[in-house]
């Protein structure tokens, strides 16, 4: 992508400098994969490898959860972020899993991510935060913004052309469509989805909000739920996962992307986002780390339905 040429050069230079100077112990970014349409995560600790860094419209992976590997480490790591990724970093900061001293966030302009066929990902069409919500540095002229905003930086025009954010108003369409169904239809739909789950936990592993040291689905000790992939246990897993990230999900869509069974996980997350907004007022997780997530606070005049 020609708009990103200079950004790529700058990324490599910056990474090299950061590693050479010892400012950071490692850098999270992407590299070109085996196919032109594949841009996959890369972690480098060696300045010599900085030239492998690459960033384009296929760099869909959100790297923020990888920072958890170093959560009890004093050394600093640099991470390149798109708008959606930056919210994952804020998630980790707010959850106190990393400290600002442990991470150097470098914001990038997002051209809108595309699939192999070159069409814009739905999540990008629905994107409200194409710009980093926080960054220590930025490349490509992108502007940091804690408000929903239009794409900025060198790819702003390209992003606008492919329609980044153009369907932000319709983010809840899938939720609304399901809400319109009968209880029996919903039950059948979700039963089918839950039955597919193989409990690989890929969704959890990639999620910046799933940052527990010990996940309740890994420990048998308390016996919350069986590890077997039965419909019952899968439903328990799906709902519990959703409730654990309720009000904390940063809407990056990685869980659904990595699901090998194509379970519409984000539909559940979006449903919760929608209800949280309707019940407790507007809230975007992973934007402002000083605002406590909605389930960690209350208003005495919250909606009352339990009378």
């Amino acid at each position: 992508m020609k708009e990103l040429h200079n950004v790529n050069v700058a990324m490599r230079t910056l990474a090299r400098e950061l590693l050479e100077s010892g400012t950071v112990a490692g850098v999270y970014g992407w590299k070109k994969g085996s196919r032109p349409t594949l841009t996959s995560p890369l972690y480098i600790q060696d300045a010599a490898k900085a030239d492998r860094l690459a960033y384009d419209q296929y760099a869909v992976s959100n790297l923020s959860a990888l920072l958890l590997d170093h959560r009890n480490n004093d050394k600093k790591r640099a991470i390149f972020v798109k708008g959606c990724d930056s919210r994952g970093v804020v998630r980790l900061l707010q959850d106190q899993q990393i400290t600002p001293e442990q991470v150097l966030v470098i914001g990038l302009p997002c051209p809108g991510m595309v699939d192999e066929a070159g069409s814009l990902l739905t999540k990008c069409a629905e994107c409200r935060f194409p710009n980093p919500v926080m960054a220590d540095q930025v490349l490509g002229g992108v502007e940091v913004s804690k408000q929903p905003s239009a794409p900025t930086g060198v790819t702003a025009e390209a992003a606008r052309k492919v329609g980044v954010g153009s369907r932000a108003g319709e983010r809840m369409a899938q939720v609304a469509q399901l809400e319109g169904k009968t209880a029996a239809e919903k039950e059948a739909y979700w039963a089918e989805q839950h039955d597919k789950c193989i409990r690989c936990y890929a969704c959890r592993n990639v999620c910046p909000a799933c940052n527990c040291r010990d996940c309740i689905f890994d420990t048998e000790k308390k016996g919350w739920v069986s590890k077997a992939a039965t419909s019952s246990a899968n439903a328990f897993f799906a709902i519990t996962r959703a409730m654990h990230v309720a009000g904390r999900c940063v809407d990056c869509g990685e869980c659904e992307r990595v699901c090998p069974m194509d379970i519409p996980i984000m539909t559940v997350n979006r449903k919760l986002q929608q209800d949280i907004e309707a019940l407790f007022g507007p809230y975007d997780a992973g934007v402002d780390e000083t605002v406590v997530p909605p389930l960690g606070r209350y208003q005495t005049d919250d909606p009352e339905e339990f009378l």
Binding site: R71, N72, N73, D95, Q96, Q97, N211, C212, R213, D214, C215, I216, T219, K222, G223, W224, H244, V292, L295, G296, R297
Partner: protein, 660 residues
């Protein structure tokens, strides 16, 4: 597997009437883990308890279930019973087959079935019970009262009379608070100073009371039983040990400053006591206004002082002291009328507040009790009172009623009529609220005997034309706008929390509402307690209050504080949160949700991949935790658990109920 006993109580026929107790016992005996099951007429009776104790010994029980009445009734009984035979009291569960079963169901078959389910639930739970022990925390037998207004004075006196040492702290250099500024008190019209001054002297002379004036709380650490309070004693520039309070320095001081106590309607000196009856009656130097401290020239006070008490090199002193309990009595401040631009925003000299009028009425005030209006010293004829200024006004973010204004306006109108018989008081009100003993009667006298002219409506605007004030209001009873040409307007300014109330609350770790009033633990049943153990509230810091209410609350808070001080140590709740530090990721979600601030993130040293690392984990203060369990649900990894109501116990109960 644990060895469990089950004891089925008949409660006479109360239970046995609808529940086949024998069947319950039989079913129990068949359960895995149950080694003994027995029924008896009255389990709570002495023979019943003996029976349990013998069974515990005989069958070597690890725990037992009593199926009987409500645990709210006899849980303590059966726990103590266990304690007497060497069993940990928390290895006992009681299930309710009376209130929740036999009394509410007539069908014996259904009743028995339900009783069996509940019994199974109890057995399943007790199999997961762990012995619990309450932590004890030492009690420092000393109280701190913050704020020495009438509520704080009363609280300090009562604690001291109960025999405990108490420190009474105020940031001003005299105690007395707002009440000292007030002229006369409703509804009796006795002079405020006449009833307050004796109390001020009494508290100052009480052997159990230490006065700490001109001092502020900087930080509070610790918890109930041992609060470590850091206090800044501000520099007074006067050695109180040498000073005799003769007042020579005050007389000779050449620098005059508007007196805060007199609402800036009269002067004070730079070395001053705020009012003549001040306690302690020893002056301080107001450094920003002192000529010597600012310019190095003057020093007259030092020259004239007969006891050489002036210390220009005095410094703030910071001390940390330990107290077992704290009473917060920081009071209120008068609402700042500058928010009411439509009433001149404080710029019109003859538009004053209620407290200004108190000082004008007071014989020792700036006008020696003569009613002179501030602009030209003229005696006013037409006086307008406006109520609910900074009260019941959502647009000014003061939706609440300040509670005292209706009465103080009635009082002031009465006093004005006494002082100026030719004057006329017009009182704009929305509702007249006179709940209180002899209050309504007082209001009636203001209207009937003292010619108070009440007009129902709010005033929209006041503006000045020449030396007159044009007051435009609505008479909603008449249905027409009205205009009054007034000489003096008194805004019945409401009560605000102290400007720094929130800051102090955060220091103390107590809750406050949207406006900054401190929140009591329960609006009805715990009116002087806070959510933080060992900290109590007295007076207007909790919400607008008049003098009688403040005094009553001061005494109430003192009783609560004294009750704590009688103990040498406090026993905590045994059923409290427990953190599994190995699982805890230190995210702090539990910290924000805990109503008692019992959870803190603490560093934990740990060997990770062969290296010593430090990571943060949640730590529970067993003295503060009350066992609500909110943290257990906030914790996604369920590192947080709760003794007596653990995840495992509750799951076992659910399983037992369902898997029949």
């Amino acid at each position: 597997m644990k060895r469990i006993g089950v004891f089925v109580c008949h409660c006479g026929s109360n239970i046995a009437h609808t529940v086949d107790c024998k069947q319950v016992a039989d079913e129990a005996a068949a359960m895995p883990g149950v080694v003994h099951a027995q029924e008896y007429k009255y389990m709570c009776s002495e023979p019943g308890q003996v029976l349990i104790q013998e069974a515990v010994k005989e069958h070597n029980l690890d725990g037992y279930v009593v199926t009987a009445c409500s645990p709210r009734m006899h849980e303590t009984t059966f726990r103590k019973c266990a304690g007497r035979c060497g069993l940990n009291p928390y290895m006992v569960e009681q299930v309710n087959i009376r209130e929740h079963c036999s009394w509410v169901h007539a069908d014996k078959e259904a009743g028995t079935e339900k009783a069996i389910d509940l019994m199974r639930m109890g057995v399943a739970k007790v199999l997961k019970n762990e012995p619990l022990k309450a932590a004890t925390i030492p009690m420092t037998k000393r109280a701190l009262v913050i704020g020495a207004g009438i509520a704080g004075i009363q609280a300090a006196l009562d604690i001291a009379d109960n025999g405990f040492p108490v420190t009474l702290l105020d940031r001003e250099h005299s105690i007395g608070g707002r009440m000292a500024q007030i002229d006369k008190t409703f509804p009796t019209l006795d002079c405020s100073a006449c009833i307050l001054t004796p109390k001020m002297v009494e508290v100052a002379q009480h052997p159990n009371v230490e006065l700490m004036t001109y001092a502020e709380v900087e930080s509070v650490g610790g918890f109930i039983g041992s609060f470590d309070v850091t206090i800044r004693k501000k520099a007074r520039y006067v050695d109180t040990k040498r000073c005799t309070g003769c007042g020579a320095c005050i007389q000779k001081c050449p620098s005059k400053v508007p007196s805060e106590f007199e609402m800036e309607m009269g002067p004070r000196k730079s070395i001053y006591v705020p009012f003549p009856q001040a306690v302690p009656n020893k002056p301080v130097i107001d450094a920003p206004h002192c000529r010597y401290l600012q310019t190095g020239k003057c020093g007259i006070c030092k020259k004239i002082c007969p006891t050489d008490a002036i210390r220009f090199d005095d410094q703030d002193e910071v001390v940390t002291e330990r107290f077992g309990t704290i009473v917060v009595a920081t009071g209120y401040q008068q609402f700042d009328i500058s928010a009411y631009e439509e009433y001149g925003g404080g710029r019109i000299p003859d538009v004053i507040t209620g407290m200004h009028l108190e000082r004008l009425l007071n014989a020792s005030g700036p006008t020696s009790g003569k009613i002179k209006r501030p602009s030209d010293g003229k005696e006013p004829k037409n006086i307008v009172f406006i109520k609910c200024v900074g009260s019941r006004d959502e647009a000014k973010n003061r939706p609440y009623c300040s509670k005292t204004c209706c009465m103080y306006v009635a009082k002031q109108a009465t006093l004005l009529k006494e002082k100026l018989p030719a004057s006329k008081s017009y009182i704009f009100y929305m509702d007249v609220r006179t709940g209180g003993k002899n209050y309504e009667e007082f209001y009636r006298r203001t209207q009937v005997d003292y010619d108070g002219h009440y007009i129902r409506g709010r005033v929209s605007k006041i503006f000045q034309v020449g030396d007159r004030l044009i007051v435009r209001g609505d008479d909603s009873l008449l249905g027409r706008p009205v205009e009054i040409e007034a000489d003096l307007v008194v805004l019945a300014a409401g009560m605000d929390p102290q400007h720094d109330a929130r800051e102090l609350a955060r220091t103390l770790g107590i809750a406050y509402d949207a406006h900054g009033w401190y929140t009591e633990a329960h609006p009805k049943l715990k009116p002087v307690e806070t959510q933080t153990g060992g900290i109590f509230l007295a007076g207007a810091c909790q919400g607008p209050k008049d003098i009688p209410d403040s005094v009553a609350q001061g005494s109430a808070a003192a009783v609560k504080a004294s009750a704590l001080l009688t103990k040498t140590e406090l026993t905590g709740e045994p059923m409290i949160a427990q953190c599994n530090e190995a699982m805890c990721s230190g995210c702090g979600l539990c910290v924000t949700i805990c109503p008692y601030k019992a959870i803190t993130r603490q560093p934990k040293q740990e060997r990770i991949h062969g290296k010593m690392r430090e990571r943060m984990v949640s730590t529970i203060n067993s003295g503060l935790c009350q066992g609500c369990g909110a943290c257990t649900v906030a914790c996604p990894s369920s590192a947080m658990n709760m003794g007596g109501f653990s995840d495992e116990q509750i799951m076992a109960e659910v399983d037992a109920l369902c898997q029949r």
